[in-house]
């Protein structure tokens, strides 16, 4: 087992190197760079910038070096933990990024747990009571959840929260606690705020997971080993949880790795609407203003998370299903 994990970790290195090259090329692909983007917006405001100033800026940020050199500089610093310098925000990327990444992972995990806690029991119920009233009811509700755009749901929840309870529900913290150091009060405040993004982001995935769980379980329910267990005299609830659910749940474990990137990118619009301090809005800004080190380091970190998520899925799946070998 430990050998398997070690091999997988080693195999991640070339994967991530290739990703880093692609990321860097993609960021450089649009014409222009951060300087020309800034310049354009300055000129729009009627300001004059001399060519010497521009050349000095370009030299300061080494923007005139060949792309390979720029890439090598970036990636060698990256592996040493220096994620570069954001020209737009005039701050090291390190100071910008970590809080937001933390909150993003927090919200992603919370939404994932919310989705599963809701979708898997409903999926089980729908399969066991196939074509019953509850099955149809939850299917309709689930598809509604899938059809309503996330930002719309966010706006509705914000409106309801504000007009019915008089609380502002944007952000992750109340304004007076946002900059405060961590304390139990701040933690409680976080819990008070996190449920809205959790529900908003979670509902989108609920419908599909519900339906997949239902279909998986229906498949398993008619398998001979279920009849064997019934003939043994095992009670229905225990039987369903022990045998078919145990097997029907495997595909979810194996797709945790894919869920991370969708959860992270799926929350960008919601984060803007709800004013969340997560990675989505910052990444969008970085890409719009061609702030290459910020955007590149960001995408690299998300890629690392994704690859780690895949590894996590594989380890969990191997632990759950004895037929999967490590070799």
């Amino acid at each position: 087992m430990s050998g398997f994990i070690l091999r997988r970790l080693l195999a991640m290195i070339p994967t991530l190197l290739i990703i880093s090259v692609i990321v860097f090329i993609l960021i450089q692909l649009p014409p222009g760079d951060i300087i020309s983007a800034t310049l354009a917006s300055l000129q729009q405001q009627g300001m004059e910038v001399s060519t010497e100033q521009i050349a000095a800026l370009r030299a300061q940020y080494n923007l005139d070096d060949p792309m390979v050199v720029q890439y090598l500089r970036w990636i060698t610093h990256f592996v040493q933990g220096d994620l570069g310098y954001s020209i737009k925000y005039q701050q090291p990327v390190n100071t910008l990024i970590w809080d937001r990444l933390g909150y993003t992972v927090l919200i992603a995990v919370a939404s994932l747990l919310f989705t599963w806690a809701l979708a898997i029991p409903i999926g089980i119920y729908s399969a066991v009571r196939q074509y019953g009233f509850g099955d149809y009811f939850f299917t309709v509700v689930g598809l509604l959840g899938l059809a309503i755009p996330n930002f719309m749901l966010a706006l509705i929840l914000m409106y309801c929260g504000y007009s019915w309870f008089g609380v502002s529900v944007g952000g992750l913290f109340s304004p007076e606690l946002a900059e405060a150091p961590w304390s139990s009060a701040k933690f409680m405040d976080l819990l008070k705020h996190i449920w809205i993004p959790m529900i908003v982001i979670g509902t989108a995935g609920t419908a599909s997971i519900m339906r997949v769980m239902r279909a998986n379980l229906l498949d398993e329910l008619s398998k001979p080993y279920v009849v064997t267990a019934r003939a043994k005299g095992v009670r229905p609830l225990k039987l369903i949880m022990k045998y078919p659910v145990r097997i029907a749940i495997n595909p979810f474990i194996s797709t945790i790795g894919w869920l991370l990137p969708t959860l992270i990118s799926g929350e960008a619009i919601v984060s803007i609407v709800l004013n969340l301090p997560t990675t989505g809005p910052l990444l969008l800004q970085a890409l719009l203003s061609q702030d290459m080190y910020l955007a590149g380091s960001f995408i690299m970190l998300l890629s690392i998370l994704t690859v780690l998520g895949m590894l996590l899925s594989d380890i969990l799946l191997a632990a759950l299903d004895p037929r999967i070998r490590y070799e």
């Binding site: 398998k223 064997t228 267990a229 019934r230 003939a231 043994k232 095992v234 097997i247 004895p322 037929r323």
Partner: protein, 323 residues
């Protein structure tokens, strides 16, 4: 129901609803099983033999439905009761399944859960029905595995089904069924999925364990060769009806019903021993060749003096009985 009868099925009717209307799988069949004997139900696919077996444990699921009849069961030393009258969630029904009546299935490859150890699944039968702890259940399960011929039983308890061959898996399924020492063992084509040498071993094993545990066996099969090896009594089924029943000697040696003769004629045997055929003498006869689409179903069963029953008009029976 006499003391010697362990199971008496009366007028059992099972229907399956579908979009095209209701299909009747069993048209009110009746037969009795004698205690300590092996009764075989033979018939083609769709004759209702598995439905009969599943009904006995109330395992028929929607869209299937038991619409009429009774299944009287008499465990040793206990009063007789009607299995079909038990409430679906009653303790009596769950005590029946796996404890008083156990079942062995056709497909050893899929009858075991792939993600649970053999030990877990065999122990589950004990833990469900006996007030014993895990250690004791482990002992009993290991012992049972040993008795069905699995070597290194204690180690193999921790293995998964995919680490067993087909024949070994069927032994595990048999161990699982017998571990609570049921009075009645239902075998639903237990050797159909196995190759012939393994078949013989499994049949011998079932026969030995039946004697050892003093159980009665209801054996479902389409293979008359297997019937000859294992059964004491035979029930011949066709399209949800019983056409003939009697001792294995009566039914196989001197079948009265033309369908039973057709079944016997469709058995592969040595060349020359085959019944004469009117065409293409090299091909094996099928039941259809000899019987066509004759409808056998409409005559009530008539009991003969020698104990056998046959669904034919009296005149035809007399004719068939003539030497």
């Amino acid at each position: 129901m006499s003391q010697e009868q362990i199971l008496s099925i009366n007028n059992l009717t099972v229907e399956f609803g579908s979009e095209l209307g209701t299909q009747t799988a069993l048209h009110g069949i009746s037969f009795v099983m004698q205690r300590g004997r092996t009764t075989a139900i033979v018939g083609e696919s769709g004759s209702g033999k598995s439905v009969t077996a599943y009904s006995t444990l109330r395992l028929i699921e929607a869209p299937g439905r038991i619409t009429a009849g009774e299944i009287l069961f008499r465990p040793t030393g206990l009063p007789v009761f009607d299995i079909l009258a038990l409430r679906p969630d009653s303790d009596a029904l769950y005590n029946l399944r796996g404890n008083q009546i156990a079942m062995i299935f056709q497909e050893p490859m899929t009858a075991l859960s792939p993600v649970h150890t053999i030990g877990n699944q065999v122990m589950e039968a004990i833990l469900t029905h006996r007030p014993v702890g895990k250690a004791e259940a482990f002992m009993q399960a290991t012992d049972m595995l040993r008795r069905v011929g699995i070597n290194n039983a204690a180690e193999r308890m921790h293995q998964y089904p995919f680490e067993f061959s087909g024949g070994m898996r069927q032994r595990v399924v048999i161990a699982m069924a017998l571990v609570c020492q049921p009075e009645l063992l239902i075998c639903d084509e237990p050797t159909t999925a196995l190759d012939v040498t393994i078949q013989a071993e499994i049949l011998a094993l079932i026969r030995d364990l039946k004697d050892e545990f003093n159980s009665s066996v209801l054996f479902i099969t389409h293979d008359l060769g297997v019937v000859a090896q294992i059964a004491d009594d035979v029930v011949v089924m066709h399209q949800g009806r019983i056409l003939e029943s009697g001792s294995v000697r009566q039914v196989l040696k001197s079948p009265l019903h033309p369908y039973t003769r057709g079944l016997l004629g469709a058995m592969p045997g040595l060349p020359g021993l085959q019944p004469r055929r009117h065409d293409k003498a090299r091909r094996l006869a099928t039941v259809n060749d000899s019987q066509g689409t004759t409808d056998f179903g409409q005559h009530p069963l008539i009991s003969l003096n020698d104990g056998r029953r046959v669904a034919l008009p009296q005149a035809k029976i007399d004719e068939a009985l003539k030497p």
